[in-house]
Amino acid sequence: MSVEYIIAFLITVVGASTPILLAGLGELVTEKSGVLNLGVEGMMLIGAIAGFATMDLTGNPWLAVLVAAASGAAVSMIFAVLTLGLSANQVATGLALTIFGTGLSSLVGQGFTGHGIPTFDSIFPAALATDRFGRVLFSYSPLVYFAIVMVGVVWWFLNRTRPGLILRAVGENDLSAHSIGYSVIGVRYAAVAFGGAMAGIGGAYFPLVLTPQWSEGLTSGRGWIAVALVVFSGWRPGLLLAGAYFFGLLGTLELFAKAAGSGWTSVLPSEAWAAFPYLATVIVLAAISASKSAGGNAPATLGRPFIPSA
């Protein structure tokens, strides 16, 4: 295995991990406020087509990211109104959002199939990325660095700021938060919107960086992995980062196993490598959940609608 091979491997891993990291961070904040939004896959697809379309029409990647974030947030409002405004069941509504997002992105994408767009490349000067270390550190799209920075931002927000404390309080005990005078519904709306925006950016990563073309179902289930990742990480941003890269690693292993034909990776059939991330999630979930009481670190009100007494 040459150094070139390892570098290509590492770069692919980073590419595979970033979208789930972005969407995972969004879902983490949403869930911390007590809302379980299973519509991540749908929101990612909406962000993907929004980002793609904007890039195709304007050629401005920053605008594309912005539009993707706004679209993800907008579509998450459907979920928010139904679950927070009308107390609809969160699991079913999230699923409906996924189906809707898949269908709507397909419909809008019809007009863009076959178009190629420029990719959202690194803004670092090319000179930095010529040698091996340079490539591993500096050759990525700004979205990769954004994702990593957001891990720190989310952690700091949740643990070191007052609004973050309020959000966590709402997630742990909505009735008490309400009685102190905080708007539980308002906080949750904001959390859902943030989740939608991040999912939108995560989805936009696919066409803007990985595959500069539109096709239906571009995200291939990454949204679900992001949801699993949040539980996997025990709702902690730092572990989320590690988990996202772990998944990216496993996914890349499958691909490189297929390409190698022979070699150490053919010890298992390539489909076994493909199933690894999901099996690993299940195993880790079992280990985490078993070692603590019901659900581990989960916010206490997760998934339950807010019903103020009287």
Binding site: E4, Y5, A8, F9, T12, Q110, T113, G114, G116, T119, F206, L210, T211, P212, Q213, W214, S215, L218, S220, L255, F256, K258, A259, A260, G261, S262
Partner: protein, 361 residues
Amino acid sequence: MIRLNRRTFIAGAGAAATLPLLASRASAADPLKVGYIYVGPINDGGWNTAHEAGRQQMLKALGDKVTSIYVENVAEGPDSERVMRDLVNQGCKLIYATSVGYNDFALNVAKAFPDVKVEMCTGWNHADNLSNYNIRFHQARSIFGTMAAMLSKTGVGGYLATQAVPEVVSGINSFTIAARKVNPNWKTKVIWINTWYDPAKEADAARALIAQGADVLTQHTDSPAAVQVCEKAGIPTFGQGADQSAFGPTMCKSSSLDLWGSFYTTRTQAVLDGSWKPDDTYWGFKEGALDIAPIVNVPADVKAAAEKVKAGWLDGSYNVYAGPIKAQDGTEKAPAGGALDDGAILGMDWLAEGVDGPLPS
């Protein structure tokens, strides 16, 4: 109020069965209705785009005598049978099923509607009203293999393959055998991604092949995703189905062009004048069903070599499947002086010497 019971079901089915007869009585005066089912979107920039272009050509050539409907994104499986039945019930007397996964269901439809003609692309079943059609894609592959060996520095090529059906296997073999004529130590690395159209997967697979040391790439998938990856990575590549150089202006040296238009025109005309007979149509450069996009951005000697191969196909002096041909495991598939016949090519289930890695199994 309609009572839903067994009697009404059978009555309904019986009524439905007479619909084709009604339709056929009408069609003597009306234009021939031709149905197409596509496995992906018509603007995928590859396989389906080419079929749609062929359909448009046929419509232009035959004018008022035909009308046509098409359905995109028809999943390979029983859904395709339902869609084909819908087309028949809407009056189609000729159906073109354009992907290999429709094979068994096309047969079902042919059996259920004996007065409808079904043309199955890259299929292998036979019936009185079922015909198969195919293009000698391997002719174009041999040109690309020749060019690849001349352009490559590492002597390793990458092949983005889909499923291990004969059409794909033959493409890989032809590419490899032709390359080996230029460089006897040529190796082709293959990734089987088991899907015809999934740009994200195709891009990932292309990157993986490049990481494995391939410095020339080609593909059998329907989208130009691999071409885009190669353009970014500075790797020469060849597109498939339609001219994909728009996605790789410097790196896409040529593309295979599936030209279904003349086939569709000819066969539809045969139905119109009653001379249609089931066949195993297998056209290539000579019949105008296949061509390659203009060769760009290569040294003069590479271009000359490519043109020589193409001319060889046209005048019969070049045949990539002329013996001696050896499989990966060393068995001789064609002796020196002999050649593989059409049957062997259409049923190819072995990989040639020089291909790295086994058939998926």
